[in-house]
Amino acid sequence: MMRIGLLASIVALLLGAPLVLSGHVVGVLTTALIAVLFAMAFNLLSGRAGMLSFGHAAYFAIGGFAVIHAMQAVEKGLLWLPTPLLPLVGGVAGLIGGLCAGYFATLRSGVYFSMVTLALAELLHAIAPNLGSIFGGEVGLTTMRMPWTSFDYGNEVHVYYTVVAWVVLCIGLLYAYNQTLFGRLTVGVREAERRVSFLGYNLHHTKIIVFGVSAMFSGIAGGLLAFTTESINYSILGMGMSASVVLHTFVGGSGVFFGPAVGAFVFALFGSLVSDMTKNWLLYQGILFVGIMMFMGDGLAMLWLRIVNEFKERNWSALKLRALLLPPGLLVAAGVVTLLELTSRILDQQYAAIVSRTKAWPPVSLYGFNWNPTALATWLVPILAIGAGAGLVFLAISRAGREAAPRAALAGEHAR
């Protein structure tokens, strides 16, 4: 019940957002929502079916290109399709692409599967520039959204609502998928492939279908992106896109239905906001990812569920520990950021130029303070902050650790 309330309020927030937010923020939200859908589609394959794809950008891109071509056709009057339905074309293309690629990729499992997906995506990426008529070459393909009824689609907000509708619909469908019999079987594929085929299921066909469905929703996501930006370029096929969906999914947590959505949303916002603050944002994004993988390996959503659970169970000691860990954790983070920012300013070419010209190390400004790079305190303060924070974290954990029950060393090591 609480969950439904939460979902309803999220949807309400999404619907209400354009009323209060500026056009630009609405644009950011739009891209974040697309990332959300892509991550959710990806997680159907990687989280539910246990098949980690390293080339999912391919299906995202296929969807995008298909939609652009469809839009061009609509623009030229070769095709009749109401504008808001255009992303559907991406879904169809993604499905077809996914079924074809899936046929080969799912012949293998585990790391081998990942490598096949990687190789397929790399090849497509390498070939794309040579197929100018399909992929548009370096400058890509562009088109324009046509008006539809009272929506002229020149307005950010119209696009936004279309995207919200699609994303909500697709997530609903993904949720429904998990509730179907086939959805249950999908998880079985992850857990014990061999058993699945000995129960009488055609494992290969089953996997192809899962792959296809995942690619279909990825294609819709790609289509939505093309729909929003009205253009597409083959660089979208690169490793970067495939990598980012992996990051999003696992930051959020692949074990929880909404996990990937959380991850994608958080990282998309992080990218938009932090990139305006520091050019080192990619570094922070990487560190954040590593930190999450290390300290909350099953993702942000799982952490959230755990906290909620602790509240329900009135497990105050666990909550206290979390609360105790927060300030020193922030201290460490602040120290690290300060250190990296200072270093990056000093290693900057412009700064180096000033140094070589004036033969002096001028102070650098950070958080509105001037930090003198030759002063010991400048470096000592962040280092002390990191040290103190880490010490406190360690103290809190070892305190708590003594009370907690130990883990079984042989757990999960049963004969395979």
């Binding site: 891209t31 930006t229 370029n233 305006d276």
Partner: protein
């Protein structure tokens, strides 16, 4: 109403280093324009946005910029992003008549922008493969650096393909013969020695290449390692770090560029020193491209500026078609038909005798020749069909 200009550039990601010199050129130029009185009596406001080196990111930042009130967009690196912004600007202007924005493409070399993608609201202050190779080949011929057997090696995408076409065209015009040509994957080749072996086997005495980034560095090194003595003509030998990474194997190679610091005698020196005083280093990379490009924009702004007036972008654009800026090396101006920049092109040679040494090496770019705007210009592409506002 102050004029707001947005610089959308890849401040992070793999292209960041390429982007910085462009941005510095803009900063320098705007600083200069503001010192000369700004626009409409107010200083021009410049905001920088990180495109995240993605087309989608750039599109988003463009929206942010427009929301923040920017009326002129400047962008340089990554043709894919240029294409994205150009198209977005076109559509925005279609949908928002009277609130138009102007797009300055101050670095993208791809020829499409003045061909099938040309539009009234975008101006390109960059050359293209045809302009560059035309100038390069003519200068190499004049200085005796063009042999009779040319090998052309380029990256396998539209830009590289254009280069290959241009090389074939102008080498033939100059009476040389193309003895071989290769297109290879972009930024993926680790070891170029097989290509060098291939070139050696072809018997070429001159190599023309539009490669940039690691592809030219690795290529030059493989060439040096093999001890192959041939003439080399290229467009990107001056990327930050390239000369030092290539080392002595770069000596003698010919670079074609929009500007060279040794050009223009006194005026050139003044510009170099002035730039250094403001930004901190000499503009030996792409800084002049955006500096002059933006100053050319400044000429148009001066034309329409009137204290207290409104920002009228259409007027600015129309003015831009008719103004010119005199750089130390010669006159910069736009061609009305396709908004392609007409400019003098500088051809130089990697040499230890260069006045300005680069990358902490003892090498630099010694000016060989300035090819005049008239001689470097190539015809308007028939694919350019520009919709002009009535």
């Amino acid at each position: 109403e102050p004029l707001k200009i947005a610089v959308i550039e890849a401040f992070s990601g793999p292209n960041a280093q390429t982007a910085i010199p462009f941005v510095e050129g803009v900063r320098y130029a705007i600083g200069k324009l503001n010192k000369e009185g700004g626009f409409n009596g107010e200083p021009i406001v410049v905001t920088e946005y990180d495109s995240l080196n993605q087309t989608a990111g750039a599109a988003e930042k463009l929206k942010a910029a427009i929301a923040d009130g920017a009326r002129i967009i400047i962008q340089s690196t990554n043709s894919a992003i240029t294409a994205q912004i150009s198209e977005d600007v076109r559509k925005y202007n279609l949908r928002n008549k009277g609130k138009e924005i102007l797009f300055m493409m101050e670095g993208s070399e791809a020829a499409e922008f003045t061909a099938e993608k040309c539009q009234f609201w975008a101006f390109k202050t960059a050359s293209n493969p045809f302009i560059r190779i035309k100038a390069l080949v003519s200068a190499m011929k004049d200085t005796g650096k063009l042999g009779s057997k040319v090998y052309s090696i380029n990256q396998n995408y539209s830009y590289g393909v254009d280069h290959e076409k241009a090389q074939a065209l102008y080498a033939k015009e100059a009476g040389a013969q193309i003895v071989g040509s290769t297109l290879h994957d972009t930024a993926k080749i680790q070891d170029f020695s097989p290509y060098v072996a291939q070139i050696k086997a072809s018997g070429a005495d001159t190599i023309l290449s539009g490669n940039w980034g690691n592809d030219i560095i690795l290529f030059m090194r493989a060439l040096g390692d093999a001890g192959l003595k041939v003439n080399v003509g290229n467009t990107s030998l001056d990327t930050t770090g390239a000369l030092s990474a290539m080392g002595p194997s770069a000596l003698g190679a010919v670079l074609v560029k929009l500007y060279n610091l040794e050009a223009g005698g006194k005026a050139g020196e003044t510009f170099a020193e002035d730039f250094k005083a403001v930004i901190g280093h000499y503009p030996y990379n792409e800084e002049p491209t955006t500096a002059f490009g933006t100053l050319l924009l400044g000429e148009a702004l001066k034309k329409v500026s009137q204290p207290g007036g409104k920002v009228d972008i259409k007027a600015v654009a129309l003015a831009l078609e008719n103004v010119s800026y005199d750089s130390p090396a010669g006159r910069w101006s736009f061609r009305k038909e396709d908004h392609q920049l007409l400019l003098p092109v500088a051809v130089s040679e990697v040499s230890k005798e260069a006045r300005y040494k680069v990358d902490g090496t003892d090498m630099g770019f010694k000016l060989l020749k300035i090819v005049s705007p008239e001689d470097s210009a190539v015809p308007v592409d028939p694919k350019c069909k520009m919709d002009r506002p009535s």
